[in-house]
Structure formats: C-alpha cells, structure tokens
C-alpha cells in the first residue's frame, strides 16, 4: 500500500452557512433593514415579546420571519395584528440556517424597517448559526431559573441584548438575580439585560430605546 499523502485543508465546516449569512446581511443592509435574530427556549415568550415591541414601533415598519418546527400559530397571531409575517417550518430541524432565511427574505419583499427572525425555541443550536442578522436578541425568563447562563453559555455569550421576561412572576419563583447576572457578565460584558413582563408591558420602554437606536443606524 502506498503511503498516505497529507493535504492541508484548514477550512471551516460552517463556511457555506456563513457565506450565505454574509450575503443576506449585506442585502438587508442595502435595503435599510435591521435584522434581529430572536432566540430563547420554548415558552420563553419570544412571540409575546415581539408583539410588545411591534405595538410600540410607531414609525418603523416591522417584518417577521417565524421559525417553528411545526405549526403556524404565531404567524396567524402576528398576521392578525397586521404584521407582514412569513412562516418557516423546519419539519424537525432544531435551528434556522441561512439558506432557509435567504429564501424567506426574498419572499417577504422587504424595504426599510426592522426584521425580526424568531428562531426555533431552543437554547442550544440557534446560537451557533448566523442567519444574516445584525443582532441577536436572547429572551430568558425568571421561570426558567437563574442557572441558564451556566448551562447554555453560548446563547448568553453571543447575545447583543438579553431580555429577562416574566418578571411579574418574581415574587412567586426562586430566581436568584445576582447569580444570573454573575453568569451573564462572565460571558458577556456588553449586552444590556432588560427586565420585562409581556403580561404587564413593564420594561418595554427600555427595550424600545435599544431598538430605535439600532434601527436608526
């Protein structure tokens, strides 16, 4: 048997996804769209958060891409509020990837505004794949517990803004805020952490300051 010949490759296996993501990002930027990748576990209140934000947007046009393994409940809710929304069903896949978004972005025919891409409810894989976004928004909740940054570090590390939802339930749950913040800050020094309640609307004024600042630029 002849000897093996080693060929250096040094190529990232994410290359295709990242290449497509960069193209999407560029095309969105050109069209005046600021894209936000919305991540969080199932039931964290991703759609509820979007509704609270969209209600307050005033002069900025919102668009939504809804990612779900199955169903179109969230899309129906958003469409009923008059929001241009497109549904992606991954049929089992645990995250959205850039080729899926590329097609949805073309179908939505976007111009100037803010695009929210609601990722699959999952704290693991969505953080690993760029999908053309300008920022990652992580929705965490007091009901999930304060250990989440320690258990799912990548999602917290990559987030550009962290929304801590369901804060109206703080009196009823054992959420250790200082332990949570210690973990968040070890992983991520810059992302604002904003306490909100989708139920009461509390905290969203601060979220809107962040959004309008970003959508402007």
């Amino acid at each position: 048997m002849s000897e093996n010949k080693e060929i250096e490759v040094m190529q990232s296996v994410y290359d295709k996804n990242d290449e497509v993501a960069s193209k999407i990002n560029l095309s969105l930027t050109k069209r005046g769209i600021y894209a936000v990748n919305v991540m969080g576990s199932p039931g964290a209140g991703k759609t509820s958060t979007l509704i609270q934000i969209i209600k307050r947007l005033e002069s900025i046009t919102p668009y939504v891409i809804e990612g779900d393994i199955e169903s179109d409940f969230d899309t129906k809710t958003l469409l009923s509020l008059g929001v241009r929304t497109i549904q992606i069903n991954t049929g089992g896949a645990c995250h959205l990837d850039s080729p899926l978004i590329g097609k949805a972005v073309d179908d939505l025919n976007l111009e100037k505004g803010i695009l929210f891409i609601e990722n699959i409810g999952n704290l693991v894989c969505p953080a690993e794949f760029m999908i053309g976004e300008h920022a990652k928004m992580l929705i965490s909740t007091v009901t999930e517990g304060s250990d989440k940054p320690y258990k799912y570090p990548l999602a917290f590390e990559k987030a550009d803004i962290i929304i801590l939802n369901k804060c109206d339930l703080l009196p009823y749950v054992d959420f250790d805020e200082s332990f949570f913040m210690k973990g968040v800050r070890a992983l991520n020094k810059t992302a604002p952490v904003i306490k909100v309640s989708c139920k009461t609307g509390e905290g969203f004024d601060e979220v809107m300051l962040w959004i309008s600042e970003k959508a402007k630029s």
Partner: protein, 112 residues
Amino acid sequence: MHEYPITKRIIEISQEHANKYNAKEVKQINLVVGDYSGYVASSIELYFGIIAEGTLCENAKLNIKRIKPMLKCNECDMLFERKPFSFECPSCGGQGSPTKIGHEFYIESIEI
C-alpha cells in the same frame, strides 16, 4: 440531529480537496471539533458512515480531535477549563471570560 447536514459538508469539502489532486480515495480526514461548537463527535461519526457511502470518502477514517473550551481569567489572565455552574478562576477566584478555544470546527487536513 443537525450533525447530518454538517457531516455532508465535511465529505463535500474533503472531496473538493481530493479532486484537486486527482485522488482516487480519501484515506483519512482530520477534523477539529471544539466542545462548544455544538457538534457531537459521536453523531458525526454515526452519520459519516451512511453519507460517505459511494463517495471518495467511503473508506476514510475520520479522526476527530476534540478541544476543551478554555476561559481566560479577567484578573490574572490564566487560561482554565470551567467547572460546572461556575466561571471562577481556580488560581485567583476571578471571573473567566469565553475565548475562541473550544469553538473550533474545521477540517485540518485530509490524507489521500
């Protein structure tokens, strides 16, 4: 489950490089996978056997070098592996920040 498309990509990249050298087969693929890349080495191995069938990589041995994630202490700059539920530096007790070590996911080389 998302190892399936990524394993397919590993095979594609290996074949592209093997084709440049007109290789008849890929004998080994040396892959580097950080534990924070989100990919499970054993799942990649599982899919590899199925997807590689009928390709230049059919009989290739997949060598996976796993990299343990390292944090860097904000106080003393020491690189360390984290313990569960903590980001604390074992040397000085400071908090560690994530580094790129442990996020790797690339093909280092192939052997033909």
